[in-house]
Amino acid sequence: MNTFTVDTLSKAIRKSRPMTLTALFLRMGSLYPVLRPEFLKLVDAASSVASPSEYLYQSLRPLADKIPPHLRAVFWAGEKFVPNRLSDALIRSAIDNLLTPYFLLKDEKSFWKTKKRFEREGAGIILDVVGEEALFTSEAENYLASYEYAMKTFGGKVAVKLSSLVPSISFNPSNCKENKRILKEKFAEILLLAQKYNVSITLDAEEYFKWCLLIEDVFCETVLEDRFRKMSNVGVALQAYRKDSFASAKRLLAVAKTRRYPLTVRVVKGAYWDTEFAIAEQNGWEYPLFERKEETDANFDRIISFFLQNREHIYLAAATQNPKNIAHALKEVDGDFTNFEFQVLFGLGEAVRRTLCRLKIPVSVYCPLVRQGGSILDALAYLVRRILENTAGNSCLLENL
């Protein structure tokens, strides 16, 4: 079992890569960096501007001399000969039909279909109700309702974003003590629901300065409460790109040891790199993340090894699609997959999932689902984050596309 090398893994993954238009699209974004921001802006704006094609032409016109000639010809022909209404429809459907199935599930029907398919192949599913920070109370309540709905309807494992459960307008970072109390209340509500419907809960990772440390406190203090102490199907995500993440790993282990019932930790790399950078720079704060990707990768491996040595206390989910990290984890796991699984992103991690399934290695897929009554608009920030990381020059995913 422990003969996986990075090379063999990469080869296997490459073999099972899906050839989709979206992959091509992403590849284009990474090949021509000048198109990348325009492409992101288009995805962001398409649903809200009157004519996305007009929008696209306008944003590309000033860049004309930087675009490779064959693409320029395509745009020029599009602008000249295709009626706007037709190209609008094309762009909208491209974003809707090409992009979304590659990143997220649009409705319940596709969720059930996907779930069945994954289960047949031996992969689990983690449901993520797509959403960002809530603005006001009614929005926060809607999110809570959609979490409850998801737990009731789909069961299994559900990812929860705590920041979507409180109205962020009245949430001042300086008001720490009160914020923590409110979040603890919300988290307790979620845990009670989880008990009621018997589902697993993992708290999602969030923005560093405003949420991250607060959520960690909330998590650690709540799971030590008597009423939740015995729940072992509760977990939290830990971002390996944080410089202080190893300290957090130690803290989580200590908490698990104290409560004497295991906790789940999903180790991820982190998806807010660019955002955190901007926030830190705008406020004059020290940058809280590793600046080089290799450092994050190394830290990821370190945390995985750390938790794997403490498997009786921590259920570990290694969320990565990077063959190097997978190979490292497999080496540490050493053929014993108790309390361990890999997690990959829906769509983007498809090749990795297939490979791991074929090798009978436990893997779950993180599936973002547009919430009941919600729209694709809720998912824009998620989409942009994913596109951003997957069109970056150093993306490991691109090697697999």
């Binding site: 501007v49 960002e132 603005l135 109370t137 307008i169 001042n172 300086s174 720490c176 003590k177």
Partner: protein
């Protein structure tokens, strides 16, 4: 690219920080309880009379400290001191670089007392700790930026002067006037930053400063002056003169020895100052002795605003709502940059209704109360007069048939000048209530059919300070960028919160337009003059003796 100076870091909030600050507020309160604020003239803290109580706007029963107003004769004494003191001459003779060190030191001192100043602002003007924290960073940045600029200009003056063989040329930067006295009258809404900026720039340029803070923020003014003294600025050079604007302010503006004025405040007072300056130069100047005939001038002046944000349907909803709330309601709208008119572009697709619907829901989330409760969005308005004025605007608007949506004011808000946020719809842009600067937690909502109409509406005001648009439509953004008449323009972000060296701040039309923008790289030139250009013939007997 390397910047000339780095912005100060804001506080990183966490539980420990919150606890420390709450403790500091109590100790500051205790410190102030037995504190009298006196004018500080040449190192003597006395010479005041007729005290005013500086009350906590969040709790009208709480008197913070007693402030003794400067007597006219005492102010006169300050002027005499400046004219006579050798210390003042020495200050003037120092190089820009030498003087800049004092400002850097003052900035460091403010940084070391950050929590103390936050506490002062919470207590004296009712500012939320996060806003206060940002203002303290701004004060520090202004001092450091101007200090860096001073060094930059000195270097520039040195490098740019050409001296051919046989000639030695230099140029000296400094105040143009013989007795270089600068009067600085500053407001209560940014009691630290807006006071520190002009004061610092004037001191740097070699002026002596008569500093008159607003009555409402005399305590903070006192502690700012105190920091400057601690940083080593001689007490003969900087004088702290608390008092009333109508008497003390007016007297000093017209004073024959005060030659440079910087002012931030209402447009009305600004105009009065302009008139006084013009009258002085026209009528008084010719009567002065010939050696005293330096003209009076306004170095920098920032006045009101009636600012606008345009939102179109392509705007990102959450971002736009956040931008509106922050712009209109932070510090209860008591900023010259605050949003007063929200123009929604709606081409008959229901965007107006949906966006205002969201806003109405959003203002219900805004908590108003004492800023000692960190969970509030904003605190009280500054005083009883402001309270009455703002409430009466709301009532008048109602009488005119406007539709008013109010937020909630919880009972636990306390006994202060608290006003719930309100939205006013249905008044036309040219209505007097819409046109007058509100300076409170109210927002007028206007509707336009096209982006062109929106911009026309936005520009139809006597002011031109801040403005912006929330949109993802590049054409619209470009149009607004080109055509909106404002000094500070923002896209997809709040129209308040300009940062030093990031967004140099200042308006056009009635909003100011005197001098270079605050927090910008040229600001120092409002004070600094190329006083004298020296040129010396270094040849003797037709031979250049110093040739290389």
């Amino acid at each position: 690219m390397k910047t000339i100076c780095k912005n100060a870091a804001d506080t990183k909030w966490n539980g420990a920080e919150e606890k420390k600050l709450k403790k500091e507020i109590q100790s500051t309160r205790a410190l102030l309880r037995h504190f009298d604020i006196w004018p500080s003239i040449g190192g003597v803290e006395a010479l005041g009379s007729k005290s005013i109580n500086s009350a906590n706007p969040s709790d009208t029963k709480e008197v913070l400290a007693e402030v003794f107003c400067t007597e006219i004769w005492a102010a006169e004494r300050a002027v005499t001191l400046i004219k006579k003191s050798a210390c003042v001459q020495e200050w003037k003779r120092k190089s820009l670089t030498e003087r800049s060190r004092y400002l850097d030191r003052a900035a460091d001192l403010i940084e070391s007392k950050r929590r103390f100043f936050i506490s002062l602002m919470i207590l004296e003007v009712g500012k939320h700790p996060e806003d206060a924290d940002k203002e303290i960073s701004e004060a520090i940045d202004l001092l450091r930026a101007y200090a860096a600029e001073a060094r930059m200009f000195e270097e520039l003056a040195e490098k740019s002067i050409v001296s051919p063989a046989g000639e030695k040329n230099t140029t000296v930067l400094g105040p143009a006037e013989e007795s270089a006295i600068c009067l600085s009258i500053q407001p209560w809404n940014f009691p630290l930053a807006i006071s520190a900026g002009p004061m610092g720039a004037a001191l740097l340029s070699g002026y002596s400063v008569l500093y008159k803070p607003a009555e409402e923020s005399s305590i903070i003014g006192y502690f700012l002056a105190d920091i400057m003294y601690e940083a080593g600025i001689p007490r003969e050079v900087l004088h702290f003169l608390p008092g009333k604007g109508e008497t003390l302010g007016a007297y000093l503006v017209a004073h024959k020895d005060v030659k440079v004025i910087c002012f931030t405040g209402s447009s009305l007072v600004g105009r009065k100052i302009e008139l006084a300056v013009a009258e002085f130069n026209l009528d008084i100047l010719p009567t002065l002795s010939r050696k005293d005939r330096y003209r009076k001038r306004i170095a920098s002046m920032e006045t009101g605003g009636n600012n606008v944000l345009i939102v179109d349907r392509s705007a990102e909803r959450t971002e736009a709502i956040r931008a509106v709330l922050r712009s209109a309601f932070s510090f209860a709208g008591q900023k010259c940059s605050a949003l007063q008119r929200l123009v929604i572009v709606d081409d008959k697709n229901g965007f107006y209704e949906s966006f205002t619907g969201d806003l109405k829901e959003a203002i219900q989330e805004i908590r108003v109360g004492s800023p000692e409760d960190f969970g509030t969005f904003y605190g009280p308005v500054i005083n009883r007069a402001a309270y009455v004025r703002i409430i009466s605007v709301r009532e008048k608007a109602w009488e005119y048939g406007a539709q008013i949506t109010e937020g909630v004011l919880k009972n636990d808000a306390g006994d202060g000048y608290f006003i719930a946020p309100f939205l006013i719809e249905g008044l036309p842009n040219d209505h007097e209530l819409v046109q007058e600067e509100l300076f409170g937690p109210g927002l007028f909502i206007l509707r336009a059919k096209t982006i062109e109409e929106a911009v026309e509406m936005a520009n139809d005001t006597e002011y031109g300070l801040t403005g912006g648009i929330c949109s993802r439509n590049e054409t619209c953004m470009e149009y607004v960028r080109e055509n909106l008449v404002v000094g500070n323009y923002y896209e997809n972000k709040p129209i308040v919160g300009a940062r030093v060296l990031n967004q140099p701040f200042g308006g056009v039309k009635e909003s100011g337009g005197f001098g270079f923008k605050a927090g910008g790289v040229l600001y120092l030139l409002n004070f600094l003059r190329e006083v004298k250009a020296f040129s010396r013939n270094t040849m003797r007997q037709g031979i250049p003796l110093d040739s290389k």
